[in-house]
Amino acid sequence: MDMILIPVVNMTPILPEIFLSVLAMALLLINVFVPGKQKSYLAYISFIGIVAAAVLVGAGWGSHVESFGGSVVLDNFATFFKMTFLVGAGLTVLIADKYMEREECNHGELYSLILFAVVGMMLMASGTDLMTIFLGLEVMSVTLYVLAGFNRANKKSNEAGLKYFLLGAFSTGFMLYGMALIYGATGTTRLYKIAEVVGQMTLPSTNIMLVAGMLLMMTGFAFKIAAAPFHMWTPDVYEGAPTPMTAFMSAGPKAAGFAALLRLFLVALPALQVEWSQVLWVLAVLTMTVGNITALRQDNIKRVLAYSSIAHAGYALVGFAAGNGTGTAGILFYMLSYSFMNIGAFAIIILVAKKGESNGNVSDFAGLGFKRPVLALAMTIFLFSLAGVPPAAGFIGKFYLFSGAIQKGYIWLAVIGVLNSAASVYYYLRIMVFMYFKESTEDFEWVHVTPPVALALIIAVAGTLIPGIVPSVILEYAQMAVKLL
């Protein structure tokens, strides 16, 4: 009888994933065996674990290792995105504890779920096979459905979870169908092989199966990154989900979606660039405009940021439509900066809100500027960065995204982008108007900054300002990351 041959698999590309999975499972056990309601220690352990994972990820910088028969790769592109996910997750666990305690849904599984979601995102970033990408996507999505509905006692949270699940499952169907069609057209699921096969086609754009597959996959991903017109779930889910989870969802999964989409289109389907870049052009314009215009009229601050996050996906799509080095490096830079500034802004929202997520309207920030000047200053920095005002990272990010479009010749796309950016200034300013220009009715005495939240805010402010003033510290890495794609 033949021996079953187990191939020697190089585990290094997924070392951080393995580490985080083990840690997540360990946390589940610790949670069960350590009695008591106090769960802060789990947050601390996860944070330390995330830092350790970041060290592991960082050690892989510069290497190029393929494994699992070419379905997973460790390269700079994956490493950069993995760092982005870890930043998002690290900041989230720091701000989650306080919130969960206040809302009395302090279940220890939260941290394991966050870590599992990160593992899924990491797989998406380093997957070079349609199947690995899909696997990562599902690991991420399923945990996110749970996280969105994590506050069981809260109806809105339940609604968010269910809504996200139903629409997410629907979009997954699209994506899977698209992948199947691509497999049908090319006979393989490996990205590099798809590129080879497509490259040999005489006129790939006339191959209906291929093009339909591409469009269906794009639809699926457009849902994940909340691009219009597939964004309908975003405001409700973002509003209903527990605030730290909203912060987490707005940063990491979006970046993961872009990671997979970038690799998919740039590696597997460069032959169709003319086609997909036109579709993305339209998608970018729609996404920016819908996001910004609807954000103008929102009163709930979580909804403002939800719509703004749609708009930000639109800006990133501008760089994607360009598809050149400048634009794609811009996406990487932007996703990282966005993690810092957006989670930072959510941290402030968590602090200002009261139990039951009350006090979450823009007008509830009235007078914060002079009652709690340091917090308001931090919020101001995040908001200006989101608005794209120098010298913050958000400006540099947009600069490179729009530059990519201009370099490609998409001047009008850049013009629509900057006009959108100018419109977005209004709703960011509106928050500042309340913080600084209106008299306060509250004393903000309940706002208590715990050390982990303070640490998160310091990291977020530094991550927003330093790359804004000396962008090279991150941009150089972003450009190295997209170079070998």
Binding site: G325, Q407, L419, S421, V433, F437
Partner: protein, 551 residues
């Protein structure tokens, strides 16, 4: 002292760090420290003034690498020439005055106010000294933030509307400029330019269509800032709502960003397009002059009146700049400083009476000259300066502008614009009459106190400058002239080389104007017999005549 320009620019930031350590209740200390910082900044800037050589080169330059990523290389590239020199000095000069004016006007949130003032100073200085397009853009945007907060926090009744309008108006313009800037960079890259340095792009030859689009984007951003008709509507709101110091800085320096932008960027970068659009811009400038003057005439609020007079004055500046000859641009540059001095002074004056009476309605006043003789005298001098009476600075600037514009292709525009001079006399003298003369019948006005020592100290430097520039503008003109000649040469050489605009040339009969020598070694010495000799000498001749006329 090779870093003196950086030192001047970032001293206010150091001041901000200092302020952070002062408790917010010690208002006196906060004010005095801020005043000290701005005075030291002014003194340091005097080193620049005394060390400045009267030639067309950029001086006090610093150029170190800053960002190098991807296709872009940005450098910390700064320097000043005769055009930016006076705007830098104007900024450092006006800041202590602005700070001093807040001593009793601002009682709440003093610390934050002072921080805003100092941040604003760094932003403004940075924009004037930047020779890297990207660096300029950063400072240009950064400036908005403190001004936004100044209007929004310490402003009047309608402050929210004014602050947001100010921010978004400026933002729309500057973002379109950003697109143009990036596009220009890629155009430059094709021609071998490797960084955002402004001087690189002067030699870039662009085709007419490209120039037109880029010029429009830049011009739009600057036109909002100037502000030019019909984009001026944010200004009266911002001015009316802003606190006194904010209005002073807004009028004296911030508006100059727009006109400076034309002189430094839009015109030399895209000279052919600038010439093509000169008639359009001149038309808008002239409409601005007349329209703003007419609107100013019917204002009931003194501050709004001054705000509209700003629009009219800047219309003159724009007219002078787009004459594209030495007198016109010199007049425009000089008028930028004059406007800073006299309109700044007018806003201070409005601030003084507002602090006393908490109203700015003209009908609430009347006969103040009997009660406040010192105030009346100063107000009168400033009014004359704003009107452009010979002997004051306003006359020299307006005269040069009209002279230059008359000799250029903009002759007909000039004729219309001249009526604006009369209109400005009408509304300024009329408001002066209604506020200062007549019966002192309002009982509230009968108890008004005259200016105190601090207020006089604020006004004296401005009054001195009004007469100094009015009687002896030579030192100012001497320093700016080489740079202006260079600019004029840039514009005209380009139009000769490019040969793309058949009709938009200088009017016939002025052969001397088109022969501005390129890189002529003795630009500022202008040998006798040269066809253009009497052109630049006009400003020098002026002051000799003025004193007599003033008497």
């Amino acid at each position: 002292m090779s870093n003196v320009l950086s030192l001047t620019t970032f001293l206010p930031i150091l001041g901000v760090l200092l302020l952070l350590f002062i408790p917010k209740d010690s208002k006196g200390v906060l004010r005095n420290v801020t005043l000290g910082v701005t005075i030291v900044t002014f003194l340091v800037s005097l080193i620049i003034l005394t060390g400045f050589q009267s030639n067309a080169e950029f001086q006090f330059t610093e150029n170190v690498p800053w960002i190098a990523a991807g296709p872009f290389i940005m450098r910390y590239n700064i320097g000043i020439d005769g055009i930016s020199l006076w705007l830098v000095i104007l900024t450092t000069f006006i800041m202590p005055i602005a700070v001093l004016s807040t001593y009793t006007a601002v009682e709440e949130k003093v610390k934050e106010y002072m921080i805003c003032l100092l941040l604003l100073e760094t932003g403004m200085l940075g924009a004037f000294i930047s020779l890297d397009l990207f660096l300029f853009y950063i400072f240009w945007e950064v400036m908005l933030i403190p001004m936004y907060f100044m209007i929004g926090i310490w402003g009047g009744k309608n402050k929210l509307y004014a602050a947001v309008k100010f921010f978004i108006y400026t933002m729309v313009g500057s973002l379109l400029m950003l697109v143009a800037l990036i596009f220009l960079y890629f155009k430059g890259m094709e021609a071998g330019i490797t960084d955002f340095g402004l001087l690189n792009f002067f030699s870039l030859k662009l085709d007419m269509a490209t120039q037109i689009w880029l010029f429009l984007a830049f011009a739009f951003a600057f036109a909002i800032k100037v502000p030019m008709f019909p984009l001026h509507t944010w200004l009266p709101d911002a001015h009316t709502e802003a606190p006194t110091a904010g209005s002073v800085i807004l009028a004296a320096v911030l508006l100059k960003m727009g006109t400076y932008g034309y002189v430094r960027f839009a015109i030399p970068l895209f000279p052919d397009a600038a010439q093509k659009f000169a008639p359009l811009i001149a038309t808008l400038a002239v409409i601005g002059i007349i329209y703003a003057a007419l609107v100013a005439m019917v204002q009931e609020d003194v501050k709004k009146l001054v705000a509209y007079s700003s629009v009219a004055h800047l219309g003159f500046v724009m007219l002078g700049i787009f004459a594209f000859n030495t007198e016109g641009i010199t007049g425009g540059m000089l008028q930028m400083i004059n406007h800073g001095v006299s309109t700044g002074a007018l806003f201070l004056i409005v601030g003084f009476i507002y602090e006393r009476r908490h109203t700015r309605l003209i009908t609430d006043f009347g006969g103040l000259s009997k009660q406040m003789p010192v105030f009346a005298t100063i107000f009168m001098i400033v009014t004359f300066s704003s009107v452009g009476l010979p002997g004051t600075n306003g006359f020299v600037g307006e005269f040069l502008i009209l002279l230059g514009a008359f000799e250029s292709q903009l002759r007909w525009w000039t004729i219309v614009a001249t009526s604006g001079v009369i209109l400005s006399a009408v509304y300024m003298l009329w408001v002066f009459q209604r506020v200062m003369f007549g019966e002192l019948d309002n009982p509230k006005n009968q108890k008004l106190s005259d200016l105190n020592v601090r207020e006089v100290v604020i006004m004296v430097p401005l009054v001195v400058l009004i007469f100094f520039i009015g009687l002896y503008p030579k030192p100012f003109i001497d320093k700016m002239e080489p740079a202006i000649n260079k600019l004029v040469a840039q514009v005209h050489v380009s139009s000769v080389n490019a040969q793309v605009i058949p009709d938009a040339e200088m009017p016939a009969g002025h052969p001397g104007m088109e022969q501005m020598p390129v890189g002529h070694p003795g630009m500022d010495q202008l040998p006798a017999g040269h066809p253009a000799v009497d052109v630049p000498s006009t400003p020098h001749a002026e002051p000799v005549v003025n004193p007599h006329e003033a008497k």
